[in-house]
């Protein structure tokens, strides 16, 4: 009996050591390829604002939000991303419809204000992230030549739960969800990595 159990113990111990060695090797091999932190981000050069970011995020309110790049924005009075230019105009000729179904795109007059002529003013457009659901309608409407293309979709890390596998990435028809290193900003051409999944 003791003979049997010692043999058994010997086999166990050998397997344990082997297992530890295998785990160590595999972990070491992977650690070489690893980065401190890799996160998901929308590649705006591939994104077509297809509305799947809104429906596919595991969060009830998607972690993808529209973000306005102020340096690129034209501060237009007649912003095609803000107002639905095909809707009924009011008596001053300004369209009454809004593009955002969530009313998440807000604007305010900035600069030197001309109180008499609203067309003579500049407007700052800000996305209300507590309302924005990442549908991308404004992003699409802002595309050149109608707009300046200053709006884009972005994964906001204060909301993203960093799933093992991004649910949006699975469904994205344009492979626009890419893996980037911290700080996880949107890739600009060369920054994009491993877009195939």
């Amino acid at each position: 009996m003791t003979d049997h159990s010692t043999r058994r113990q010997f086999i166990d111990r050998s397997c344990r050591v082997l297992g530890l060695a295998a785990i160590g090797t595999a972990a070491g091999l992977l650690a070489k390829r690893a980065s401190a932190a890799a996160v998901y981000q929308v590649d705006p050069t591939k994104c077509t604002s297809c509305d799947l970011c809104r429906t596919s995020c595991v969060l009830s309110l998607s972690a993808v939000k529209a973000v306005n790049d102020f340096e690129k924005c034209g501060y237009c009075m007649l912003c095609p991303a803000f107002m639905d230019v095909t809707s009924m105009p009011d008596e001053r000729g300004i369209p009454t419809g809004r593009v955002c179904p969530q009313d998440a795109l807000k604007r305010r007059v900035v600069g030197d204000v001309d109180p008499d002529d609203p067309n003579n003013n500049y407007y700052e457009y800000v996305v209300d992230e507590s309302r924005c659901d990442g549908c991308g309608k404004c992003v699409k409407a802002c595309l050149p030549p109608a707009g300046n293309g200053s709006l884009r979709l972005e994964i906001r890390y204060d909301r993203c739960v960093e799933c093992n596998e991004c649910n949006i990435r699975i469904v994205c028809p344009d492979s626009a969800i890419v893996r980037v290193e911290v700080p996880g900003l949107a890739p600009t051409g060369h920054g994009a990595v491993s877009d195939e999944l």
Binding site: I23, A37, V67, Y75, Y157, V161, N164
Partner: protein, 351 residues
């Protein structure tokens, strides 16, 4: 316009190509020139149409768009630290203190932190796929956290058996907590179903690394790489309190079934549990109900909801160190200051 090969009708051939048309027909050249001018002009027009940001002067400064940073490194480190602490605590509670209540508290803590607070991510079960993808595709960026989550429970299992399953895995813990009235599953059924995790593991690895390219009777089936385990995780949508309808239904079925069948997902589906079952066969320490004495009363086998006690010994591969068996063991009750084992057993025998 030259036509040096007389045996070949060259005129129509040249006319067929646009370049030939431009060469032969003087108006073509003008047309081309016109086209270029129009394209250039339209580009200039569009560029003018796109307004540059206005020059506000002093009255307004451009706000900088905010980019919330991903969770800080120390927060990611905290997840790993919680995992290590959980594994250590689980090993101590199940193998050292031998306390069911302790494991229960650990399970509640696990469900609260890894489940509801971290919303089920990242988990070692899903990390199988990240690791696979990283091995297959060198461009895929894997994070150190995922590596730690995948390998630490493996190491812990080599030392202490499946304590990860017992109290540190949120999926296991939630099933353990809902288990009200365990029903015995026939041994034969159980033994067959126990192969399922390896089938699932193979599928998950295949899909994570390579995806599916099949030609079946002329029709091509192509599915890209997918993380099947995450997609079909029945409990993660419960932790997130939202999810696709079919997954919520599957989750509800697993919870309802789990009230009567002990840990259905862990035993018959979980691919990571399958891996741990292999490793725990050679574990350094494992659950030993009565190491020095035994009375063949079979109360522990009766108490085990997972069919993990064979011939009055905890089966190393199947036992998830939930510590239920200690609660029913007469010797264990005696050790805790209850009535002596003989008295208890005599009570059982008496009609």
């Amino acid at each position: 316009m030259s036509c040096r090969a007389p045996h070949r009708p060259c005129g129509p051939r040249d006319a067929r190509s646009l370049l030939g048309l431009v060469r032969r027909w003087p108006l073509g050249r003008i047309g081309l020139l016109l086209y270029v001018v129009v394209v250039l002009a339209s580009n200039v027009l569009i560029a003018q149409w796109q307004k540059a940001p206005p020059d506000f002067g002093e009255s307004y400064t451009f706000p900088t768009p905010t980019h919330p940073e991903p969770r800080a490194t120390w927060v990611r480190g905290l997840d790993v630290a919680m995992l290590v602490a959980g594994l250590g605590l689980g090993a101590w509670l199940a193998l050292g203190r031998r306390t069911r209540n302790g494991m229960l508290l650990l399970s509640i803590g696990t469900v609260a932190y890894f489940g509801f607070f971290r919303k089920g991510c990242i988990c070692p079960i899903g990390a199988i796929q990240n690791v696979t993808l990283s091995l297959v595709d060198a461009h895929y960026l894997i994070s150190y956290g995922v590596i730690a989550f995948f390998f630490l429970p493996l190491v812990a299992t080599l030392f202490f058996g499946r304590v990860f399953c017992g109290g540190v895995c949120p999926l296991g813990a939630v099933q353990d907590l809902v288990l009200l009235r365990p029903v015995k599953v026939p041994e034969k059924v159980d033994r067959w179903l126990r192969w399922l995790p390896y089938v699932y593991l193979g599928l998950a690895v295949w899909f994570a690394g390579w995806g599916l390219h099949l030609t079946l009777g002329g029709s091509e089936i192509i599915a890209g790489r997918r993380f099947l385990i995450c997609e079909w995780d029945p409990f993660v949508d419960i932790f997130r309190l939202s999810g696709p309808f079919h997954m919520l239904v599957i989750g509800a079925v697993f919870v309802a079934g789990g009230m009567f069948i002990g840990r259905p997902y862990c035993r018959w589906l979980c691919p990571y549990g399958g891996l741990l079952a292999i490793l725990s066969r050679v574990a350094w320490k494992n659950v030993q109900i009565t190491p020095n004495k035994e009375v063949d009363c079979g109360l522990c086998a009766e108490a085990c909801p997972f069919g993990a006690i064979r011939q009055l010994r905890a089966d190393r591969a199947t036992c998830v160190a939930c510590a239920r068996c200690y609660q029913s063991c007469p010797f264990e009750i005696e050790r805790r200051g209850g009535p002596s084992a003989e008295v208890q057993l005599a009570r059982l025998v008496r009609p």
